[in-house]
Amino acid sequence: MFASILASGLAAGAIYALVGVTYNTMFSTSRVMSFTAGQLAMLGGVFGSMFTLKLGMPVIVGFALTLIGCALIGIITEFVAVRPVLKSLDQHLYVLSTLALALMIQQVAAIKWGTEPQPFPRLIGLGSGVFDEKFWLPVVACAVTIIGLEYLYRRTLVGRAFLAIAEDNFAARALGLPERNLRVASYALAGVIGGVAGFSGGELLLAFFANGALLNFYGFVPVALGGLGNNRGAIIGGLALGLFQQAANFLVGGIFSSVAVFTLFIVVLLAAPQGLFGAATARRV
């Protein structure tokens, strides 16, 4: 039982963590919580299944096309749901615009792809039982993504420009950084991360249009727990959420595990409103 909790808990947690990082990546350059994050992960599974199973492409080609497709959806999100409402961030119109786009993505997926879960191909064919690849692939994908992001942010000029925009948008612009282009790039990057989450978790979650709403919720929890914009917090929060959820499944049963998860979520937010790893921001008066 313990091995099962660990295997599926870490796998689900890694997917939630990656969706959390997707939220953060979009937030960092726009200050917008885009509720398309879960849909990007859903599309990672749907595109992956479509390219590899339906169209019969090699896994590596299917993976590349999936990431390109998700990056495009990320860019469309920036143009359609984020850019028009940036001037009125204080009115929180982005909640409506990104949720509307998320619903549109979900409905189109349901109509074009179908409302029943579709199979996702076995990617490598390694492992069985609790060591099956469907459990460890999302964890590996999560680790590789974090290492890649750390490299991007710390070692590359573009990454540092991202950080500069995230740190102080106005100052970065004053220094001549192309803020709008960097924002578009960050949404494309978020699309890629969401695509990685969906593709690596495809064997576990299947290619199912309803995964979008589920991942929107469960991906948001680690962001709130870990602190908005804090990727390390999102990773730890995501993995903890997956483990707690799976343990709750074993101890209290499926229908009550969601209740347990959200009870814990509310308790943590009551105790630490800025998230477990977030810093309370001072308000200028």
């Binding site: 039982m1 099962s4 599926s8 579709q118 199979p119 049963g253 229908i255």
Partner: protein, 398 residues
């Protein structure tokens, strides 16, 4: 005698009035087509059954019209695509009744739509046959015009329970459903009925259909000593995950339950074909083949005729096609027997049926019982045995 203008007017009115009352009805009224409305979710997520039913409707209508129609009048099916949406079904029902002026309505084909349209049809007293499972849709006092030609939910429940207790001879069962309204209601009813029959329900659960790992629930069911798992869900993803988990646990417990356990989509979702063995889904005697691969003679005859008419059967279920044929033939016989397209005559005919031999089943209706499908024709099928829309009988049937 002087004839006044008033006399001329009165005389003319009298002549016209007499003519109107005494002249026979124009011949066109007796030769115009008989209109049967068809509320069909031809598109949208719940369109799969409709596509099968529609093939039967077209086949039966063509056959009746080719044989000269009903008392010389052609049948005309007036189809309205409801897209599975109750609102569209309501609009289509009102349009069929008041604009198209149909004589009877077949459908809708899912309970959500039928819950919305049944009261409307009852107010219009229009004869209605449907295959929807929700119990409350049939109430001869409230809806004397509505007849069910497929099993109700409780008949499914009876059949599943009967198979577990009398054929598999298990005493301890786990009952699992999804978290939809249907899943929760069906699990509750099933658990209560099993307990009433003296069975031990050792585990019951409603699982979120998107839950990626079914190990927790199956492990709990196994530890509780379940000898069979009864499933009430329409979610193929969840069902396939349970089959895969059972295999990973090296457990050979049988799954028994909802017809969706035999859905063709599961073939792509199970990790190995063997994972889909020992799964028994609700099926029907009339469309099940025996251990020698033979269908009942009447069904085989229908299959041959359908094949000759080039009706596709490999991508749908035969009972859907057979049900569509039966619905059209029941209306046609009702009009032929009552000699009228008036609603009361058709309803009186349907109320008089006792073991009417349809292709899908032998229907019996009385003025106080409008659930026409016999429970003893509901059987369990081998879930993975689909062949041209028919299934093999599950073990234990002779």
């Amino acid at each position: 005698m002087a004839i006044s203008r008033r006399d001329v007017l009165l005389g003319s009115a009298g002549v016209l009035g007499t003519a109107a009352f005494s002249l026979p009805k124009p011949a066109i009224a007796q030769s115009e087509p008989i209109k049967i409305g068809f509320l069909a979710a031809m598109t949208g997520p719940s369109s799969a059954p409709t596509i099968g039913f529609n093939r039967g409707v077209i086949f039966a209508t063509d056959a009746i019209n080719a044989a000269g129609g009903v008392k010389g009048r052609k049948l005309e099916i007036v189809t309205r695509d409801t897209q599975g949406d109750p609102t569209k079904a309501v609009n289509a029902t009102q349009e069929l009744i008041s604009q198209a002026k149909v004589h009877a309505i077949w459908g809708p084909l899912n309970s959500g739509e039928a819950l919305a349209t049944t009261p409307i049809m009852a107010r219009a007293k229009i004869p209605n046959i449907h295959p929807c499972v929700v119990e409350s849709l049939i109430d001869p006092a409230k809806f004397p015009n509505a007849f069910r030609m497929a099993p109700s939910n409780s008949q499914w429940d009876d059949a599943v329970r009967g198979y577990c207790l009398t054929i598999l001879r298990v005493k301890k069962v786990a009952v699992i459903g999804d978290t939809t309204g249907y899943g929760v209601t069906a699990v509750g009813a099933s658990v209560a009925a099993f307990k009433k029959d003296g069975a031990d329900v050792v585990y019951q659960a409603n699982i979120d259909a998107t839950q990626p790992d079914m190990t927790p629930d199956l492990l709990r069911a196994k530890n509780a000593g379940a000898e069979a798992i009864v499933v009430w869900s329409v979610t193929t993803g969840m069902e396939a995950r349970m089959f895969n988990t059972r295999a990973a646990m090296n457990w050979d417990v049988p799954f028994v339950g909802h017809p969706s356990l035999a859905s063709g989509e599961i073939a792509g979702l199970v990790e190995k074909p063997a994972n889909w063995e020992k799964v028994y889904a609700i099926g029907y005697k009339s469309v099940s083949y025996d251990s020698a691969g033979k269908l009942p003679a009447k069904t085989q005859d229908l299959v041959d005729r359908l094949a000759k008419a080039k009706v596709a059967m490999n991508d749908t279920l035969l009972w859907w096609i057979a049900g569509g044929i039966d619905a059209v033939e029941l209306f046609a016989k009702g009009i032929e027997t009552s000699g009228s397209t008036e609603g009361p005559g058709i309803i009186a005919y349907l109320n008089s049926l006792s073991k009417y031999p349809g292709y899908f089943g032998d229907y019996t209706f009385t003025p106080t019982q409008h659930n026409g499908y016999p429970t003893d024709e509901i059987v369990m099928s081998e879930a993975r045995s689909a062949k041209n829309g028919t299934f093999a009988l599950a073990p234990g049937y002779t």
